[in-house]
């Protein structure tokens, strides 16, 4: 990480203030008014639109292996995703994912 102290705090403060403004927007500033349907439709997908992109490089090219694809990590990710889809339960998905990572790592290690 190559940031100065000032830059790091700038990121933290900007993110804190920006997040508060987003959360305060309608509660505090815009009040009780309807969002246009097209905007609501887009906002509904922000989480499932951005988070998968964020995890993709972490799974395919993990830093811990120097960016090399790692079959154990890919299998563990698949297990977490599969169990999450099946059970709709985040805790079981984490258990399956980390369990596979440790289990396969131990078997192959």
């Amino acid at each position: 990480m190559n940031y100065t102290h000032t830059e790091l705090w700038l990121i933290i403060l900007a993110l804190g203030v920006g997040t508060f403004v987003i959360r305060f927007s309608f509660l505090g500033i815009l009040g009780d008014r309807q969002l246009p349907p097209w905007l609501l439709r887009h906002l509904r997908y922000t989480a499932v639109a951005i988070l998968p992109a964020m995890v993709t490089p972490l799974i395919l090219w993990p830093q811990a292996t120097g960016g090399q694809m790692d079959p154990v990590r890919i299998a563990a990710a698949a297990a977490a995703l599969g169990v999450g889809l099946w059970t709709k339960n985040a805790i079981w998905a984490i258990v399956a994912g980390m369990g596979s990572l440790w289990g396969l790592g131990w078997l192959l290690g």
């Binding site: 990480m1 940031y3 933290i12 509904r44 639109a49 988070l51 992109a53 563990a76 990710a77």
Partner: protein, 235 residues
């Protein structure tokens, strides 16, 4: 409901939120561990956790910072993750709009995925509550969730050093996010958005200044919204 009062609403909120500590705790702990390992100072890790209180965006910022992305891109990408909270704010406004400004400001600060979901569900289920009861319920849900989030991060900073790298805790970040994403894939539109997101992240990885995340997110949002629109038109 003659027996109900802000006090009972508050404790009902506390009780409803207690089980969610199981999700919030490990997530906060992980941020403490990973943030410290990435090279942030204790004050900076706690600064993130106390000022932002939004795990997904904090991890997003952290990931881009480890790639030394430009400051503006780090902030814009992490804020994009939090855009959904504008929707939370809008859907709470009809219920909490008449509350005093300081209460609304405090609620906005503590409006995270868990407190929002619990608050909104309760207001829809018991629409005849007074505004004071609704506010009290929200403060109730925040009472276990927010301190556990902050405390777990602090604990993560402390125990992080003791966790051997062989445990592969770096990989707990993507695993945790997959665990959050998978149950959210409720409709075809959600699946289409998620698949677009992954494909674009790979295709756009070459973009300068780590713009791939914002670009992939935007494209996936548009795809999700468009699929939803078409599904509804067909009905």
């Amino acid at each position: 409901m003659p027996a109900s009062s802000p006090r009972t609403a508050y404790w009902r909120g506390v009780r409803t939120a207690l089980p969610f500590v199981i999700v919030v705790g490990p997530f906060g702990l992980l941020f403490g561990v990973v943030g410290t390992e990435a090279g942030l100072s204790i004050a900076q890790v706690m600064g993130f956790t106390v000022l932002v209180i939004a795990g997904a965006s904090q991890f997003t910022a952290l990931q881009l910072m480890q790639d030394n992305a430009p400051t503006l891109i780090v902030v814009a990408s992490a804020l994009a993750v939090n855009l959904r909270m504008a929707m939370y704010s809008a859907s709470l406004a009809p219920h909490l709009g008449p509350a005093p400004l300081w209460q609304r400001a405090l609620i906005a600060y503590m409006n995270v995925d868990q407190t929002y979901a619990l608050g909104h569900a309760d207001y829809e289920a018991n629409p005849r509550q007074s505004v004071a009861e609704k506010v009290a319920f929200f403060f109730g849900t925040s009472t276990p969730v927010i301190p556990v989030w902050v405390g777990a991060t602090a604990l993560g900073i402390v125990v992080g050093e003791a966790i051997p790298p062989a445990l592969g805790l770096d990989f707990a970040v993507p695993i945790t996010f997959l665990a959050l994403i998978a149950p959210a894939l409720r409709t075809l539109a959600h699946v289409a958005a998620a698949v677009t997101s992954v494909v674009m992240a790979i295709l756009l990885a070459f973009l300068p200044w780590n713009l791939w995340l914002l670009a992939a997110g935007l494209a996936a949002m548009i795809v999700g919204a468009e699929v939803e629109r078409r599904m509804e038109a067909r009905r």
